[in-house]
């Protein structure tokens, strides 16, 4: 725990250094593609508001100057499976993005979609010594949260303070300066497998890059594809990727839950390849050109050339109707959505005031998916695309890039996490100066 706490603090310092240098790379390691963006930061955006939030959700502060994607290799279910392969794929993407940006990048902020994320709600409470909440009290109440036993080989990826309460008043975003007797905090903790993070860090280190931040793909695609009032009133973002489908629930502009289903678009492709006996590449092409989930009478008459290159005329001239194709695709998509439904039910999504569901990610581009999802998940379903950021190429504005764009926002304006607050004075070593200061303050 402390290890990761320290390494997260170190990553925050690296991120600050990268922003000072002005160039940082964004790396989205997914199961079907690896995307790399190079961002240039030109100092603070003009016209920052009083709450420190710049206009356009802070994205006017940066500009995308390099972008590249490559077919992912060695990644399965959003986790790195073959390290050397993944390293090569990362090198390909980073090199192309650097070439486009005409600059060298040293710092990378990465996200990963798998690694079995699990959410925990933490609560902590302290008595206020001097009746008013100060900086140190916030640190103390976060430190007082009782951390659940999330087992060996798991590490905290995100730890967001979600809510603060003072005495009987709740719903504070920033409790500093308020008067009261007791301060309570709710924190959302997201843990993932240590091995997945270590593999990613190792791959990035092998590419001579430094990891300046790491995020869950479900979280960042929620940042990019949910609009502000959805984040405020309660919504779920379902990021349907190649190997994993991420789910994140937002309310009051905080993520309160994240989870991942180890199913995605690659499984649909696999089903088509098995069902029609074609290679994966052909199956992928058939899925993107002719795929769908809602069969109509017209689809019976639409025949699709499957094609092959084996020399057997009968096999090479095979044709299937689109209805048959939909018959292969639809059960798998239904399975994914039902898994999502189960997870949302378990998370208590139906207790939220607004139950907007936003589908995004590459697999959400299947025609007719919103109709199917509305049947399984509820009526308030929409397809989401990431918001626009400056300089992003047109090819990278689709739904498949929502976690990439979200990672840009995360890099520009990360939410304060547990490790961004000051270390409480009690945790300092016994001979530290701050501890001596505290003793003086308490005794005089």
């Amino acid at each position: 725990m402390t290890d990761l706490y320290q390494s997260q603090r170190a990553m925050r310092n690296l991120r600050r250094a990268a922003l000072q240098r002005g160039v940082v790379a964004i790396l989205d390691v997914g199961s079907s593609k690896i995307a790399c963006l190079v961002l240039r930061f030109d100092g603070e955006a003009a016209g920052a508001r009083e709450d420190g939030q710049a206009p356009l959700a802070g994205q006017s502060a940066f500009r995308v100057i390099g972008a590249a994607t490559t077919r992912s290799r060695g990644v399965r279910f959003g986790e790195i499976d073959a390290i050397a392969e993944t390293e090569r794929a990362i090198r390909t993407a980073v090199q192309a993005a650097q070439k486009m940006a005409q600059t060298r990048v040293d710092h990378v902020i990465a996200c990963l979609s798998g690694a079995r994320p699990r959410s925990y709600g933490l609560a902590g409470e302290i008595a206020l010594a001097d009746g008013q909440v100060g900086e140190q009290d916030v640190s103390r109440v976060l430190a007082a949260c009782d951390v659940p036993d999330f087992g060996q080989g798991r590490e905290a990826l995100h730890a967001h303070p979600v809510n603060f309460a003072i005495d009987h008043r709740t719903g504070f975003g920033d409790p500093r300066g308020h008067v009261g007797n007791r301060l309570a905090a709710d924190m959302h903790l997201l843990t993932i497998d240590t091995a997945a993070v270590q593999n990613l860090a190792y791959c990035i280190k092998r590419c001579d890059l430094e990891l300046a931040g790491i995020a869950s793909s479900a979280y960042v695609s929620g940042l990019a594809s949910l609009v502000e009032d959805e984040q405020e009133l309660g919504a779920a973002c379902i990021d349907m990727g190649g190997g994993a489908t991420g789910i994140s629930i937002f309310i009051k502009k905080h993520m309160i839950f994240a989870e991942s289903v180890r199913l995605g678009g690659d499984h649909v492709t696999g089903d088509i390849a098995k069902g029609l006996q074609v290679p994966m590449a052909t199956a992928e092409r058939i899925k993107t050109y002719h795929g769908g989930v809602q069969a109509t009478g017209m689809d019976d008459r639409e025949m699709i050339e499957i094609g092959a290159d084996c020399g057997d005329w009968e096999k090479d001239r095979r044709r299937v109707s689109r209805t048959e194709l939909i018959g292969i695709i639809r059960p798998r998509v239904e399975e994914v959505l039902e898994e999502v439904r189960t997870i949302l039910d378990a998370a208590g999504f139906d207790h939220l005031p607004s139950q907007q569901i936003v589908l995004t990610g590459g697999a959400s581009q299947l025609p007719g998916l919103d109709g199917l999802a509305a049947r399984i998940l509820g009526q308030t379903v929409r397809l989401g695309r990431p918001l626009r950021v400056q300089g992003l190429p047109q090819a990278a504005t689709g739904a498949a890039f929502s976690s990439t764009v979200g990672l840009c926002l995360f890099a520009a304006h990360p939410q304060d996490e547990w490790w961004d607050f000051a270390i409480p004075a009690e945790r300092y070593p016994a001979r530290s100066l701050r501890r001596a200061m505290k003793w003086f303050k308490d005794n005089w």
Partner: protein, 314 residues
């Protein structure tokens, strides 16, 4: 998924590339090329190095350096000593004959010289050091002639010293020694310690005393602060340190009104403007018999003192 990189068409003739990923070395090389410092080093540092290194190697030898220096100096001297650039003659203008001779004698030893090496400022300082020269303008005229235009100092007054008479200009600067007073009867004489420093004031006093010009013998500086105007017949006007011209004017008005200097007045003491004082002339006959003088002088002086009071009223 939409690819950002254009699809590479597989050509049947060539073997397809198995791995699109760059090797570790290629990746590192690309990053090195994109490093701004390295790029700048290569673009600026390398050509600089290529130029500087052979030159340095060539110049490392002492003999070569000396040879280059000698050749450069030789060439320079050759150009400088061409007859077009040599200055051989002096032309002095605006000076009287003795001054011109003196200036010529000062300048001529420096010639002939190249106009590149001739230090006109130093020459000008030398010429200006001659007392009779007020300003000197030096320039080199085409044809290798050093033209010296001189403005001489004009004698304005004579200073009597123990050694003899000196002519001074209006600012008090020495012009020349005067052997014979009769040579310049138009100039007045001043004397006394510190007289040289107060020449402008002396000239102003003399200008104010113009109505008495026929009788003025000169000015004597007293105590390095004020003047005595000396007239013939042993009469003096003792002037104050402040505004001596006004005091002279008062005395002249007095003289015009009461014929002051026609009487037996010795010193007219104007040092205190509030209280002008007259001192009788120590006439030999009066001095021999003080009682008689007492008898003779009084009405003379009394009527005069009444006039003095009257004159000093306005």
């Amino acid at each position: 998924m939409r690819s950002l990189i254009a699809l590479r068409r597989h050509r049947p003739g060539r073997p397809s590339r198995r791995d699109p990923a760059p090797s570790r070395l290629a990746f590192r090389m690309q990053r090195l090329w994109l490093t701004p410092g390295f790029w700048r080093l290569l673009r600026v540092g390398l050509p600089l190095c290529l130029i500087v290194l052979p030159v340095t190697a060539y110049l490392a030898d002492d003999g070569r350096r000396a040879a280059i220096g000698a050749a450069a100096g030789d060439l320079r001297r050759q150009i400088q000593e061409r007859p077009e650039f040599m200055v051989t003659a002096v032309a002095v203008e605006g000076a009287s004959a003795p001054v011109g001779r003196a200036v010529r004698a000062l300048v001529e030893p420096a010639l002939p010289a190249s106009s590149f090496t001739l230090d006109l400022a130093a020459l000008r300082a030398t010429v200006a050091a001659v007392d009779a020269v007020a300003t000197a303008d030096l320039r080199i005229r085409p044809g290798g002639i050093l033209q010296i235009e001189i403005t001489e100092r004009r004698p304005a007054i004579l200073l009597r010293r123990a050694a003899g008479l000196e002519m001074l200009d209006a600012t008090g600067h020495r012009v020349a020694t005067l052997l014979d007073r009769a040579a310049r009867p138009d100039l007045a004489v001043i004397a006394g310690a510190g007289a040289r420093d107060a020449v402008p004031e002396a000239l102003a006093v003399l200008a104010a005393a113009a109505p008495l010009a026929g009788r003025v013998r000169g000015l004597v500086r007293r105590g390095e602060r004020r003047w005595d105007l000396v007239l013939d017949r042993g009469q003096r006007i003792l002037l104050p340190a402040e505004a001596p011209e006004a005091a002279v004017a008062r005395v002249i008005v007095l003289d015009a009104a009461a014929d002051l200097f026609g009487r037996t007045v010795g010193d007219v003491d104007m040092r205190n403007g509030q209280r002008p004082t007259l001192r009788p002339l120590p006439a030999p006959s009066v001095a021999a018999d003080p009682a008689g003088g007492e008898a003779g002088a009084p009405d003379n002086l009394q009527s005069l003192s009444a006039t003095v009071v009257k004159v000093s009223q306005p």
